[in-house]
Amino acid sequence: MNNVFVCALPCSALPKIETSKVICFDPSSDFRGAAKELDELLGSVEYDLAIFGGGEPEAELALRFSVISGADCITEADALEQTETGITAEKRIYGGELTAVYALKPRSVVTLSAGFPSARACPEIYAVLPYREPDWILSSALTEDASVSSLSGAELVFAAGLGAGAAGCEAVKKAAGAFGGEYGVTRPAAMYAWAPFSRQIGVSGVTISPKLCVVFGASGAPAFIDGISKNCVIAAVNTDRNALIFKCADIGIAADAGAVLKELLADLI
């Protein structure tokens, strides 16, 4: 494969794919200008595929670039494969129930899913796109919240869903503190304000890759499960023995989440 890989600075890791050229850009740059620069840069370059990293800045640049260049764009690809007939990309669709396989035309644009495995440190950079001031942002201030980074990097995560209730979410938080892990919730639980959105696990929240994730009272909606790394051991507690979560879990407990949490914390608090 003769690929171009585009990623936001700082370029820390490459995905597990063959890459011939690495192009970096400043994620705080104005993407309208960056997309035009990229189009000019790649206009005379021979390549099969332009692959973009799994972050949001990369996705925006990829989509803008695909509009300018007229290329097909596949977002959030889980896998790329070189076949006899060409390159294919796979992505999850219909809430993760199905996998779509796309045969890619030359010079297609692909963005990788957040959980795409990385391989090694970034090699030599082919080009860095010039920074363009986003003059439409009149002012901005960031309030740092370490919970996202601590949750995404945790080795042990306790998660609560709607079935755990507000009390279950509190208990999960205590369990995380007691066992040295981090806690997270499903989107419905965050929508009920049982935990801040920075603790939401899933495709629209934080993607986690712990060694063990203990899930209480979650149905196992694909939007939640897709936020948990495939290599993680999932232990799930849910009253419904037929819940979807047990199709994705390694260890299942068909019981009331509150009762198990109470016993789990019995000697600790």
Binding site: E56, T75, L138, I251
Partner: protein
């Protein structure tokens, strides 16, 4: 005066499909079955965020024109278009066009907007790409993961989640906003009186044949799922004890 356009998708509610319908031999039934239609949940959040922004503007007496637009062949449930009119959306537009982003951009060119909102995860195949593509077609900036928007001089102040925290930014309009999780994520319910009034209104239907549709998959297959879940029986105390051992790494 502030003009806000909110784009929404009507999707099939696949969460109502039985687990058996996702088995390989029945999956085509599932995709073609008469699943109930619903507005995408992230788009509903976008519709609510726009209403909250309107409420904020009205405090200072500023006029706000709200429009809601959907592109697609799926029918918009009558009750939903009534809800939008009843909540104060002046225009509800249903477009039939192969190129979603192109159609939205064309509409916004003809009907200039200060703010265009999209739910960030809308659409089954494109994973929320329509908003960014439309922004590029219109040569407008895009600000994603927005949870709240308030009126500010010369534009809007938005609150948006970022990997390292929460950013509050004052943006110049026109701008395209991608709406993610909001503290008030559910679309409000109109009064019965407003709903009855809304029954007199009809959505505007537009047809646009030009443009290229998004790439569709060459094949679709059922995802392989783990099916080796080991069920732990016993009392809650015994199950908790098993979990403790698991957490300590004894069963891993």
């Amino acid at each position: 005066m502030l003009s806000i356009l909110v784009c929404f998708s009507i999707i099939k509610d696949y969460s109502s499909a039985a687990a058996e319908q996702w088995l390989p031999e029945r999956v085509s039934d599932c995709l073609e079955d008469n699943m109930p239609l619903m507005p995408d949940t992230y788009d509903q959040t976008a519709l609510e965020v726009a209403l909250r922004l309107r409420d904020d503007c009205q405090k200072s007496g500023e006029e706000v024109v709200l429009s809601a637009l959907t592109v697609g062949k799926k029918e918009v449930p009558r009750r939903f278009s009534e809800t939008l009119f009843a909540l104060g959306y002046k225009n509800v537009v249903i477009m039939d066009a192969p190129d979603k982003a192109g159609a939205i951009a064309r509409y916004a060119e003809k009907n200039p907007q200060h703010i265009i909102m999209f739910g960030i995860k809308s659409s089954i195949y494109s994973s929320g790409s329509t908003g960014i593509k439309a922004a590029q077609r219109l040569d407008l900036p895009y600000f994603g993961n927005v949870g709240e928007a308030r009126r500010a001089e010369g534009g809007v102040i938005v609150t948006a989640s970022r990997p390292d925290g929460v950013v509050s930014a004052r943006l110049r309009t026109p701008v395209v906003l991608g709406i993610n999780n909001s503290v008030c994520g559910y679309l409000r319910i109109p009064t019965l009186k407003a709903r009855l009034e809304a029954r007199k209104k009809e959505p505007e239907a537009l047809l646009m044949t030009a443009g290229k549709a998004d790439i569709l998959p060459d094949k679709v297959r059922v995802r392989r799922q783990k099916n080796s879940c080991r069920m732990i029986e016993g009392t809650a105390k015994e199950q908790a004890e098993y979990l403790r051992a698991l957490i300590r790494g004894e069963q891993l």
